[in-house]
Amino acid sequence: ADPVTLQLKWVTQAQFAGYYVAKDKGFYSDEGIDITIKPGGPDIAPEQVIAGGGADVIVDWMGGALAAREKGVPLVNIAQPYKRSGLLMICPKDGPIKTEADFKGHTLGVWFFGNEYPFYAWMNKLGIPTDGGPDGVNVLKQSFDVQPLIQKQADCISVMTYNELGQAIDAGFTQDKLVIFNYTDLGNDLLEDGLYAMGDKLADPAFDDKMVRFVRASQKGWQYAIEHPEEAAQIVIDNDDSGAQTLAHQEYMMKEVAKLVDPHDFKLDMAAYDRTEKALLDQKIIANKPQGAYTTAITDKL
């Protein structure tokens, strides 16, 4: 079998259920692929792992991937399972922020490490400076949980629909007690959780073929995961080496990610791509319009 190493963007959780299911259900071996899945973490940059030769394919957000392209890592989007963004900004209802107009002068929690681009693009669109002046917003590098909200250290925080939002609800911040800004609904979503490989390697037909088989198996995995959410959640738990995940939370997450992934079509949506590219250019996160940052060759062959 051909070895393939997949570097995830985050820790083992149902966000990546499709890949784990494909592995445990033998979809990868059916395609002749010997898969290794490397979990990520808060300080793992998948772009860096692939640049160092530590992975064949990575799960990444497009903002990070295009920024890395400019740094000389020729990342190419080969498939886009996530069609919608799961990113939200939530604020307690009894707090000062009700609408986008209220942001000025307040403190917002943002995740960094390649996850900050959608936020900056949004603020750029609103014309709000992010350097903490009286007319701008005060940005915090947010920790990994909803504590800042509970402890009122920030007026709004970033959450993922499938993860931290659940935690906030558990902590008593039910939807009715929150003001929710949904990046997708506001048209500010930048593509999340796509699959990227190195452009120079893709030129090799053998590698290209390997990627086709890999994406096909992954797609089967996602289909199965979405049809069998409980089983998928259990598979994720089985693959979690940290032993930190709970089944209930993974089931919640599986249910939520099902709303974002289209398991039947992994093709990159060009409208979404163009919007992402424009936002990144506007925000000067990338300086030049990228060339060849995606290929449909793989998804076309499925």
Partner: protein
Amino acid sequence: MQQGKNAIPVIIVLLALVVIWYVASLWLNTPWQYQVYANKGVSDWTAQQFVLDAWAQDRPVLPSPHQVATEIWKTTGEIAVTSKKSLFYHAWITLSATLAGFVMGTVLGIFLAVLIVHNGAMNRSLMPWVIASQTIPILALAPLFVVIGFNLFTAPPLGLPADTARFISKAIISAYLAFFPVTVGMVKGLRSPEFIQLDLMHTYNASASQVFWKLRWPSALPFLFTSMKVAVAASLVGAIVGEMPTGAVAGLGARLLAGSYYGQTVQIWSALFAASALAAVLVIAVGLVERLVNARMGARPA
């Protein structure tokens, strides 16, 4: 004798700390407890119930001692050591990297000390950099290092398996922290023979290696053990911090971090206690070896 004399004061101080901890835990958890009651609409709570609830929150600001104790028991006594939820499993992962790093650091430390003591140029050029090396926040470098190291080890030509690569990367960080106290201690130790002892060897026309093995090495041993106690504690810190960025896979550091992603304060504290216990065990183990060696070398009982 000395320890026996100290036992009672130590126990009393420890008891006092537990009491302070309970009080602090109540005090810090109070605001959230009010909020919980408010969210649930409970208003007829009694003081006693309030205290008990504050000590039994899901995500307390400061968990109560018995919460931590139960969590530790649940993750050690009640489950198989091979389970990924077992603290023993994680402690072992951390311990193995710690031990490898400790051994590497000790060997490197002794090697540098021998160079420094025997060569004037090495003494002048290495010593300042050895000190400067510790002012570099290696812990800050850990993410970079672990990722790069990880990539280097897994990529060709080495092509090691992921677990081995992670292990080596952690061990190297641990070794970086451990070598310093050993170098400093051994330089002192290898220089500790008195002039008259060195002169004595000189009157026998002893060779450099005879002077080393018959005089310098035995007189440096007490210094070696003292620094090894510091070094073993430092290696543990190195291994824990080295675990944080490697994708939060396994180990006490990963536990600590995973706990903090999900706001699991009880888990953080139990990981912290496990780490502390491990540190204690390691330092005591070095102390035991020291006593054994001392007895063999005919040291005067203290």
